[in-house]
Symmetry: C2
Subunit: 133 residues, 2 copies
C-alpha cells in the first residue's frame, strides 16, 4: 500500500524558496486571461490538489487562504502545471463570480503602462463592499 | 522640462521586494499561453519599457538578462501590466522563435500534475544544443 509519503513525492519535486513558498499564477481556463498571482507553501499546494480549488498562503495574514472563503469567489482547478525550474506553478481555473481581484475586477492586472503612467483600463464589476460582507 | 526622476515615477509605484525584485510573467500575446516567469529589478523593468523587449534580472547569474541575448529568442513587448498590490508584472510578448524555455520548448510550463506525478506533456521544438551555440 502506498504510504502518504510516497504519494506526495510530487510535492518534494517543487523547489520551495527560503520561506517555503512558490509563486502560483491563476489563469482563466476559458479566456486565457491571467487573473492573479499569489503564493503557495507545501500545504497550500497539497490542499489545492486535493480540493481541486485554489488554496494559497497569505503572506500578509500568515495563514492558509482558501481563495473565495469570504467572497464565495472560489477557483475551481482544471490543471496544475510546474515550470522547468520547478519553482513556479500555473493553475488553470474556473473563476466563480468572474471576479478574482479584491478590488471587484475580473483580474488583478488592471493597470497598463502607458505614457509613463500605470493607467487603469479595466472596470470594477462589483463593489468590494458588496463582495466582502 | 520633465526630469529623469519625474519621468520614472511609474517605477516608484512598484513595490519591490526585500531583494529589490518583482515577479514578471510573460504571456504570448496571440495565443495567451503563459510562457515563463522570471524576475525584474528596477533597472530591468526600466530597460524593458525603453527597449520594448523583455529584460529580466537573473538571480542565478546576478546580472541583467536580456532575454534572447544568446539564443536570439527575444521577447517583443506589446503591453506591460501591474497588479493591484503593485508587486507583480504581466508582459504581453511576441516570442521570437516560438521558444521561451531553455529546454527548447514553447513554454517553461510543460509539466502537468496527473496521477500524483508531474508528467511532461509538451514536446521539445529544438534541441538546446542547437539553440545555445
Amino acid at each position: 500500500m502506498a504510504t502518504t509519503d510516497s504519494m506526495n513525492n510530487w510535492l518534494d519535486s517543487v523547489k520551495w524558496d527560503s520561506d517555503g513558498l512558490v509563486p502560483a499564477i491563476a489563469q482563466d481556463a476559458r479566456s486565457g486571461r491571467i487573473l492573479m498571482m499569489a503564493w503557495m507553501n507545501r500545504e497550500a499546494l497539497q490542499r489545492s490538489a486535493e480540493l481541486n480549488q485554489a488554496v494559497y498562503w497569505s503572506r500578509s495574514r500568515n495563514r492558509l487562504w482558501h481563495k473565495g472563503e469570504t467572497s464565495g469567489h472560489v477557483q475551481h482547478l482544471s490543471e496544475i502545471r510546474l515550470d522547468c525550474d520547478a519553482d513556479v506553478i500555473v493553475l488553470q481555473v474556473e473563476q466563480v463570480g468572474g471576479i478574482a481581484c479584491h478590488t471587484g475586477r475580473e483580474s488583478c492586472f488592471y493597470r497598463v503602462l502607458k505614457d509613463g503612467e500605470w493607467q487603469v483600463v479595466d472596470a470594477v464589476l462589483k463593489d468590494p463592499k458588496d463582495i466582502y460582507q
